[in-house]
């Protein structure tokens, strides 16, 4: 037995090596968790399309670390319940990294599962709460709500000098988080908030809440939710003859906002990082050309490009470390400094936060185009 054991152990080791080699196989799997159907479908599909485009480009050049990349998509419908299911599914699929999701709520619901499995995750969710866990697996590829809130407060108090401010949000974790941050930032600048309210996403009829707001005669109505409700809010605001400015947070920046608001879209202010078409970087211009050539449309918004930068940072981490070990890749990503991204230089802080910002305010013109009114 004593003689047998080393042999046995050796053969076992060989077996294990063989098995793990066959499991590791010759592909590297990258997961996409995005709302491919449901109310945020245009954003989710855009993320999925963008990831597949980049992966195709990598595979055409021979893949990564000598292996082809395979994309596994899971539709979380923008809900926390589906996100939890997706997380388990993608873990079982053996992906190395997950791109997404679009909403903070769906991202948060999946975060812990990826962390426990040691799978990298990169999302455009802007809710500040996403980095509070300090998971080494999580990388935010957008900028946090607190950065947008500070910009918003500066624009309202110093730029526009609004005297009576109304802040509205829906019940999602992203929207409440952004609204809370904006309120906090406004109070720090002595902004006068006359009303803070919530609307229920998807109920379509906001006239009752808006009528209440009308009686307060505000200078500005700020909405921190998503475009599906923001467009209707704007339309119903104009319909009720409320003279206030309408300022939408970043998630209102979507072509469907314009369609929903119809003729009322003109004069709306939207706060976001630069839109895809005005990004000054060559790599961004090239990406948009490739995207248009493959899908015959433009990406839904800047958010899919942020996620693409997350993907590119992950792939860059694999290439530079020549490793598939997520711990090694994560360490390299944390050290990343000014990696040339589509949406600007990418630098991650130790807790996974992307550093930077650069918000702008756009005024929607009669032809639905954007004019930059404040930087």
């Amino acid at each position: 037995m004593t003689k047998m054991f080393p042999k046995f152990a050796a053969s076992l080791a060989v077996c294990t090596a063989l098995v793990s080699a066959s499991v590791a196989a010759d592909v590297i799997k990258i997961g996409v968790q995005a709302p491919i159907t449901g109310q945020y479908a245009s954003e989710g599909q855009s993320i999925d399309n963008g990831v597949r485009l980049i992966v195709d480009q990598f595979n055409a050049k021979g893949g990564i670390l000598g292996k082809k990349i395979e994309v596994v998509s899971c539709d979380d419908q923008g809900t926390a319940q589906q996100a939890a299911i997706c997380a388990k599914k993608l873990v079982n699929e053996g992906v190395k990294a997950v791109i997404g999701s679009y909403t903070s709520g769906a991202t948060e619901a999946a975060q812990t599962t990826y962390f426990r499995a040691g799978i990298l995750q990169t999302s455009d969710g802007t809710s500040d709460s996403l980095i509070t866990h300090k998971y080494w697996t999580f990388f935010r590829n957008s900028f946090p709500n607190s950065a947008e809130a500070e910009y918003t407060a500066k624009y309202f108090v110093d730029g526009k000098k609004y005297k009576k401010i109304v802040v509205l949000s829906d019940y999602s974790s992203y929207s409440t988080d952004l609204a809370d941050s904006v309120v906090k930032a406004l109070k720090a600048k002595n902004g006068n908030i006359i009303y803070e309210g919530k609307i229920k996403s998807g109920t379509q009829n906001f006239t009752a809440a808006l009528t209440k707001i009308k009686s307060m005669d505000p200078d500005v109505i700020y909405y921190s939710g998503y475009y599906t409700d923001g467009g209707l809010l704007r339309a119903q605001q104009i319909q009720l003859g409320i003279k206030a400015d309408f300022v939408g947070g970043d998630s209102n920046d979507n072509p469907d906002f314009m369609k929903l608001a119809g003729g009322s879209a003109e004069g709306t202010f939207l706060i976001n990082v630069p839109t895809p078409d005005i990004l000054p970087y060559d790599i961004a211009k090239q990406f948009l050309v490739d995207y248009k050539a493959k899908y015959n449309m433009m990406p839904a918004s800047i958010w899919s490009l942020m996620n693409i930068d997350g993907l590119r940072a992950v792939l860059n981490g694999m290439e530079t470390t020549k490793s598939e070990d997520t711990k090694v890749i994560a360490a390299a990503m944390h050290k990343l400094k000014d990696f040339p991204g589509i949406t600007g230089p990418v630098t991650f802080r130790e807790d996974g936060e992307r550093l930077g910002g650069g918000y702008m305010t756009y005024e929607v013109q009669a032809d639905k185009s954007y004019k930059i009114v404040y930087k």
């Binding site: 449901g38 109920t203 006239t207 809440a209």
Partner: protein
């Protein structure tokens, strides 16, 4: 005061949409003692059919009232046919089966319609063109009323009054009431019960279709699963007014819309649904048959 009046206008608009949908629930229940859970999904289907008819057949950009009326009539006709088919396929074979089987069949039919809408039109939100109705806005002493709101209020009121007289003043209406009271006795009097049920489904579905089109024209964004929310609210309205009772459904719908607007306006939108269901419970505790429902002696 203007705020109060404005909330009444808001409430009446959404309330009359609920009332139109509630009529479909209540008429079917009155005649067949069946909650037609697929009705809300017919409303959603109508919005999608209407949008397709409008953009494909008439072409986008047509604002003439004649074309819009044609779209409404055509869509209502299609939905009425779907309603009749629904009754033929999902309810008629179960007419003598235990009531629970029919309810399960109704829930299933609702899922079938909802998923069919998703498969045909896709899971994304579809958006109605803004020029269906002129964007005229009237401001009367601080109260804002839009052209679309006037259309919704006017056409709903017209349809409901017509329905009321149809049920109470015509021969067919008398037959419907007879079938509602006692199907077997009605049969003995020479009434074709199958035909009456068909008429009920045609009217109920067509009214739901009009509501669906108004939802599309007024709120613009339509999703395949929106039937559930409008269906649930309308169902609550039908129960409040007294299910099976036609004026009750109209009253229930308007009350529900007004109540919702007032809670949102004076308390907060967070509480609107909670208070709606508290109101429903209170009504059911003190008047189990609903506001206008009559206490009918149980047949022994």
């Amino acid at each position: 005061m203007d705020i109060f009046l404005q909330q009444i206008v808001n409430g009446l608009t959404i309330g009359s949409l609920y009332a139109l949908v509630a009529l479909g629930y209540t008429m079917v229940y009155g005649v067949m003692r069946l909650i037609n859970f697929a009705h809300g999904d017919l409303v959603a289907l109508s919005a999608f059919v209407g949008l397709t008819v409008y953009t494909q057949i008439f072409g986008e950009g047509i604002t003439s009232l004649v074309a819009v009326i044609a779209v409404f009539m055509f869509t209502a006709a299609i939905i009425a046919v779907v309603g009749v088919l629904l009754e033929r396929l999902a309810y008629r074979p179960l007419r003598t089966a235990p009531r629970l089987s029919a309810v399960v069949s109704a829930l299933g039919a609702g899922l079938v319609i909802q998923n069919a809408v998703m498969l045909i039109w896709g899971p994304n939100m579809k958006i109605f063109p803004s020029e269906i109705f002129p964007s005229t806005i009237w401001e009367i002493g601080g109260i804002v009323v839009t052209f679309t709101q006037v259309m919704i209020l006017g056409i709903s009121a017209m349809l409901m009054v017509t329905l009321f007289f149809f049920i109470n003043r015509t021969k067919m209406g008398t037959a419907i009431r007879a079938v509602a009271i006692d199907q077997d006795a009605a049969k003995l009097m020479g009434i074709n019960v199958n035909r009456i049920i068909m008429v009920i489904f045609i009217i109920g579905s067509a009214l739901g279709a009009v509501a669906g089109l108004f939802i599309g024209a007024y709120y613009r964004g339509i999703t395949f699963d929106m039937g559930w929310m409008y269906g649930l609210n309308a169902f609550v309205a039908a129960i409040m007014g007294g299910i099976g009772n036609i004026p009750g459904a109209m009253l229930g719908g308007l009350l529900l819309g007004l109540f919702n607007a007032m809670i949102t306006g004076y308390i907060s939108s967070q509480w609107a649904e909670t208070f709606t269901f508290i109101l429903l419970i209170v009504i059911l505790v003190f008047r189990p048959t609903g506001i206008l429902g009559e206490t009918v002696a149980e047949k022994v």
